[in-house]
């Protein structure tokens, strides 16, 4: 009995002595017992610089627009966040992104868009991790999966800027809305994905929710019921040997409320109350030549139809209401080749091929077939840095003057440097 006790004491004493010896070591290894550094999300930063040479002045360039598609900007301190807008050097944007698994049920992804003097939350959304039967839900603020290019971030684009048709219908920031998305992937041999989105519909280029009224209260249009925008799409893909074919159809329907100085109490103004449908078809064909070389054709066609009323208010506060019908369409087609381990080159053609705007019974006399031609050459030292030389010849822009529209074609050279650091997720096809 005694012997047992002695033995026990000896063991305990040895253990405690060893434990004391170990103590400082384990402490320094583990750090604070409440340390959570292992849970730091994936963080990355992307910075985009450019040098631009253009054959028109900065002042003229900032006033250019596509009649019938984009508006000329009035003096009202319009936030011109355009990329590559100045001749010489530009700091286009910084992008800070966060990604992490939240818990067994959700992932969170967030992107901060950072400019020199301000920052904003570009995207912030959760996605579900394990819904059954091939479903996934996304909720928050995100770039809509309408069409092929809209959901892609700028740094992933094959050219310095988005195609004309995307800018015309969704603005430079794209269709980026608060809402929710449900996708379903079919359990088939080929890829088939169906998706639907319910969005707020605040996009200024095609939708908008805020109501408007004139000062005398003759016209009083209430804000639209929110959410206001419904998007649906189907995408499918198949391979023929080493050729990948990916195609999709998208549809967006929403109310349009635009107030261009109509509710103000000075000058003249216009406002639109309408219903808008946008249809899109996209096709990508990629031929994988070998382990290094491939060539990819990509095209997207979009058709927009806006139907409703246009309100005009003149300086004497008389209001005129007319029916408004806009049927507009455009597309881009591009061919991009991977020429070597570090080289890519591509060409793109942009065209707005339909611009029928009928106010009342009068067809507006807008210029037809605005187009743009682009070519680029990329040098990629690693997947984290990219140098791109792009040439654009733009025949789509006009200057609004008191004497009417003046055609302003221009040519620009853009030398763009895009850098990524940190833990940046891989990109999809």
């Amino acid at each position: 009995m005694n012997f047992k006790y002695v033995f026990f004491i000896l063991i305990t004493a040895t253990a405690s002595v060893l434990g004391q010896d170990d103590f400082p070591v384990t402490q320094s290894k583990a750090g604070s017992p409440f340390n959570q550094s292992k849970f730091v999300p994936d963080i990355s930063m992307i910075v985009d610089f450019s040098w631009v040479s253009r054959d028109i002045d900065n002042g003229v360039f900032s006033e250019l627009h596509m009649p019938g598609f984009t508006h000329h900007h009035d003096k009202e301190g319009h936030d011109h966040s355009s990329m590559n807008s100045l001749k010489g050097f530009n700091l286009n944007y910084g992008e800070i992104s966060f990604y992490s698994i939240v818990d067994p049920y959700f992932d969170l992804f967030a992107v901060l868009h950072v400019a020199e003097e301000h920052a904003g939350l570009e995207e912030a959304y959760i996605t579900t991790r394990k819904l059954p039967y091939g479903f996934q839900v996304k909720a928050g603020k995100f770039l809509s999966s309408f069409g092929r290019l809209n959901e892609q971030h700028t740094h992933y684009l094959d050219f310095a800027e988005r195609p004309l048709v995307l800018n015309a219908f969704f603005g430079e920031e794209g269709l980026n809305e608060l809402g929710t998305r449900i996708t379903w992937v079919a359990p088939t041999d080929f890829y088939l994905m169906l998706g639907t989105e319910i969005l707020m519909g605040e996009n200024e280029a095609s939708f908008g929710t805020a109501g408007f009224s004139d000062v005398n209260g003759l016209v009083n249009i209430h804000e639209s019921e929110n959410p206001n925008l419904f998007v649906g799409y189907a995408r499918s893909s198949f391979d023929i040997e080493e050729t990948v074919v990916l195609f999709g159809f998208s549809y967006a329907h929403g109310k349009t409320r635009m107030d261009e100085g109509f509710s103000a109490s000075e000058d003249e103004g216009t406002a639109i109350d309408a219903s808008t449908d946008i249809l899109c078809g996209d096709l990508t064909v990629k031929y994988i030549i070998d382990a290094i070389h491939n060539i990819s054709f990509q095209s997207e066609y979009m058709h927009r139809s806006i139907d409703g009323s246009l309100y005009n208010r003149d300086t004497s506060f008389t209001v005129a209401k007319n029916s408004l019908e806009r049927k507009q369409a455009g597309f881009y087609s591009q061919l991009v080749a991977k020429l070597g381990l570090r080289w890519r080159a591509g060409v793109r053609y942009d065209l707005m091929n339909l611009n029928d705007v009928i106010i009342g019974s009068t067809k507006q006399n807008y210029p037809e077939n605005p187009a743009r031609y682009s070519a680029m050459l990329e040098y990629l030292p690693t997947e984290f840095s990219r140098l791109r030389l792009q040439v654009n010849h733009d025949e789509s822009k006009y200057l609004h003057t008191s004497n009417g529209l003046i055609y302003k074609p221009y040519t620009e050279f853009i030398l763009q440097l895009n850098i990524a650091i940190g833990a940046h997720g891989a990109h999809s096809f």
């Binding site: 394990k130 893909s237 391979d239 290094i292 891989a426």
Partner: protein, 296 residues
């Protein structure tokens, strides 16, 4: 409505037809072959990447999403070899069963002892893998560990066929043991021989058989050779007795060819996976072919 009915019928049909066997998706062909050897008739194995492409930079075809959507089990190499292409398509597959951490997900690297684990990580060192060299399947001893991990996983998710998987594993272990001895004998004279490789693809193979890696054609992992670095390799070949240059099938061969011609040193096209060269049809013939090519 009729079309919709037809589509739904087709979908249900394909589900019924394919649900009989366990659907296993593997990222690379070598994993697929081992899985087939263990799973036998009970599994339908679909590899995603091709063995003759660079395993780091696979183009994530949307058709891979369809394959992942129906998978009961996804087996990956891990150690960040798939980090540049798998995560987005796995996310888009909307299949909760095969997401990391779930029962239908197997990361082989977690069963491995990785070499070249960097003490500090910076992209200044090129395309480094923080967890260590991910090309562990080049050591034949690791293949057995991989087969064991796959067997355990198959038994876990499909316990009904447990005895089949275990029998197949025992069978594979026996054959592999014999082959390992055979390769050991053939590789024995190669001990201490110095070689140069293009990328750090074959370190596990070379270390296993006691060969010495004198250098790489790439100045840093993932960075194409520069003329300055090639100059250094030239000096190395001139000053030391280097037997050969091991060139993979997917990277440009010009630098290795240049050195081979100029300094009269053998350049060997060396496979790193099944399908990289036509003789490497399965996991056994892959090692047969590696041993044959290097000892030639």
């Amino acid at each position: 409505m009729r079309i919709l009915c037809f589509v739904l019928t087709c979908i249900l049909y394909t589900q019924v037809v394919f649900s009989e066997r366990l659907q296993v998706v593997t990222t690379y062909p070598y994993i697929a072959d081992i899985t087939e050897k263990i799973g036998g008739e009970r599994v339908r194995v679909i590899p995603l990447a091709r063995g003759d492409y660079n395993p780091h930079v696979i183009i994530p075809k949307p058709s891979y999403i369809a394959k992942l959507r129906r998978a009961d089990l996804l087996i990956i190499n891990g150690a960040q070899l798939e980090i540049g292409w798998l995560p987005p398509i796995l996310k888009q597959a909307n299949n909760g069963n095969v997401q990391p951490g779930e029962r239908g997900f197997l990361d082989l690297s977690t069963y491995m002892h990785l070499i070249d684990v960097p003490t500090s990580v910076s992209r200044e060192q090129g395309d480094v893998h923080p967890e260590g060299n991910p090309h562990f399947c080049m050591n034949p001893d690791n293949i057995l560990l991989i087969a064991k991990a796959i067997t355990d996983k198959l038994c876990e998710i499909d316990p009904e066929s447990k005895s089949l998987y275990q029998t197949n594993y025992t069978e594979f272990e026996k054959i592999w043991g014999q082959k390992t001895k055979e390769w050991e004998e053939k590789m024995n004279p190669m001990k201490g021989v110095k070689v140069i490789e293009y990328h750090k693809n074959y370190d596990y193979f070379l270390q296993k058989y006691g060969l010495i890696i004198a250098g790489t054609i790439e100045p840093l992992p993932g960075i194409p050779p520069t003329s300055r670095h090639i100059g250094e390799v030239e000096k190395l070949i001139e000053s030391e007795k280097i037997r050969c240059i091991l060139q993979d099938v997917y990277n440009p061969k010009d630098a290795s060819e240049y050195l081979s011609k100029k300094l009269n040193i053998k350049m060997i096209i060396f496979p790193q996976d099944i399908g990289a060269v036509k003789e490497a049809e399965g996991i056994i013939s892959l090692f047969d072919e590696m041993v044959r090519r290097i000892t030639q």
